[in-house]
Amino acid sequence: MSTVVNVEEKLFQNRYKVDHGRPHIKIRQPELCRNECKVQSCTYVCPAACYKAEGNGAVTLITDGCLECGSCRIICTELSNVEWEYPRGGHGILFKFG
């Protein structure tokens, strides 16, 4: 399946209260993503495309569009490289409909 889908357009419809400077999810050791993780499944499984594969093999994470599903934590089992918490109360995604 090679449909190019712009997920940003979808996320644009959502309401968020971003907790600036306090991301609720962190990559523990970025060098593990680059050197040890072959599949980097977070870069295509995350439904909000928060994880990006950079050209140099690194993976970067920006949590602003996060939908708080938990998938990235669960799929990163081999290296347990995702430090995952819910955002502070009242922050993060605010579903209007759900």
Binding site: M1, V45, P47, I75, T77, G89, L94, F97, G98
Partner: protein, 434 residues
């Protein structure tokens, strides 16, 4: 806030609301803590509400609950790339009040349910995330919140915190969720005039249609799609096992799958012109019977998705959530009345009540289903294609006689799957459904 309550409920989804409502109604002092801006602002569902579970908690909910449409028709579609084979079941029985199934919009529904919880006398605090449980030895005695001085105490804490079950995991009650035991679903809500929906789905007033789908839309992964009619919107979504998303060699993202589903020639006309107003994602615990963890201990009980209480075969979750929430609250009420404390022994009634209810009976009935589907991907790949091809062969009028067509269909089944394989599949399915 260093008060002590009878019960603390973490989470204000259907399971937490059912628990808090039931406990407060019985006169217990209840604190309910929700991390969202308001109850429902974090929650995602299809969403079908099964009336029965709610009826047992709030018998007259139909008077003022925000219900979209009652379901009068259920469609099941098996999709190939360009076609579908399906069954439609519509009955006037479903059109006689009191109705038994409704579409709802969770953000609105949860807010409504929460207003009932407050009326029943519970203290509901939103915009507050519970960070961890407070322990005294091996007894849970309260929770710590992300507010200043945020330690609160209770005799018993009911964990209604949803599929990620962060609090029980942190406390070591159970381990990390397995990717093979949860489905990741994405969905959109598309708005369009009420008349358009009624014309497209051949319904009137408050009648609604649900379509459950499987087949090619999931890119060969184990998963399903759905389309539900609300009053003036349609929700549609698709979900697959998280482990399958991870292992898919095509590296298909959930949103690409959703987009492909929306473009399917049988689906696109139904949603044409709809204005997309929200995109959601959420996990669904689908491990079933074998994946349910330990659900009670000293001073704690787990309810709803947090305990894996979802019947994936029938797409039921919210009703199991409400029922488990109610049963946990009833256990707390009984423990308080007995006056012998809140150790595990005093809360064991929760487990027996679960076992006696449809919750564990249904999960037990389908206990082998997840693994049958998981180990047999042909149900999601080969069969949908074969069934669609068979229908096309039979229904295309092209001068070839029907007997020859039957032979052609049979041999196409045989080519894709050995006779023993076909029979084995039928047997596996029968055994899992039995």
């Amino acid at each position: 806030m260093s008060e002590k309550f009878d019960v603390i409920v973490v989470g204000a989804g259907p399971s937490g609301n059912a628990a808090a409502y039931t406990a407060a109604k019985a006169g217990l002092s209840v604190l309910q803590i929700e991390r969202g801006e308001y109850p429902g602002s974090k929650n995602v569902q299809g969403a079908i509400l099964y009336a029965n579970a709610l009826e047992q908690i709030i018998p007259d909910f139909r008077d003022d609950a925000p219900l979209e449409r009652h379901i009068i028709e259920q469609r099941m579609w098996v999709l190939d790339d360009e076609s579908f084979v399906g069954t439609h079941f519509r009955s006037d029985d479903y059109n006689k009040p009191p109705y038994n199934r409704y579409t709802i919009i969770r953000a609105q529904f949860d807010k409504w349910f929460s207003s009932k919880v407050k009326e029943a006398g519970a203290l509901v605090i939103c915009e507050t995330t519970v960070e961890c449980l407070l322990m005294d030895g091996d007894q849970v005695v309260g929770v710590r919140c992300d507010r200043q001085g945020g330690e609160v105490f209770a005799d018993v804490v009911i964990l209604a915190d949803g599929v990620n079950s962060t609090l029980a995991r942190k406390a070591g009650f159970h381990g990390e969720i397995q990717a093979g035991n949860v489905a990741l679903a994405v969905k959109e809500i598309l708005f369009m005039p009420q008349e358009t929906i009624e014309a497209r789905f051949n319904v009137k007033d408050e009648e609604g249609v649900v379509i459950e789908m499987f087949g090619k839309i999931t890119d060969g992964l184990m998963g399903t799609g759905f389309l539900y009619t609300n009053r003036d919107s349609i929700t549609l979504g698709v979900g697959c096992m998280l482990s399958d998303f991870k292992q898919n060699p095509n590296r298909t993202s959930p949103y690409a799958m959703l987009e492909k589903m929306k473009a399917h020639p049988s689906i696109a006309p139904m949603i044409a012109g709809g204005e997309m107003k929200e995109y959601c994602a959420h996990l669904i615990p689908e491990g079933g019977f074998h994946a349910v963890p330990k659900v009670f201990g000293n001073g704690w009980m787990i309810v709803g998705d947090s305990g894996g209480f979802v019947n994936a075969v029938h797409r039921e979750g919210s009703n199991l959530a409400m029922t488990t929430g109610r049963l946990a609250a009833e256990t707390a009420i009984a423990a308080k009345a007995a006056g012998k404390g809140f150790a595990a022994k005093q809360l064991a009634g929760y487990k027996s009540a679960l076992d006696e209810s449809f919750v564990m009976k249904d999960l037990h009935k389908y206990r082998d289903m997840p693994s049958v589907f998981h180990d047999n991907s042909q149900f999601f790949t080969t069969y949908p294609e074969l069934v669609n091809r068979a229908a096309r062969t039979m229904l295309t009028v092209d001068g070839i006689d029907k007997k020859t067509k039957e032979k052609e269909i049979f041999s196409s089944f045989r080519k894709s799957r050995s006779l023993a394989g076909l029979a084995g599949d039928a047997f596996k399915l029968w055994r899992a459904f039995r």
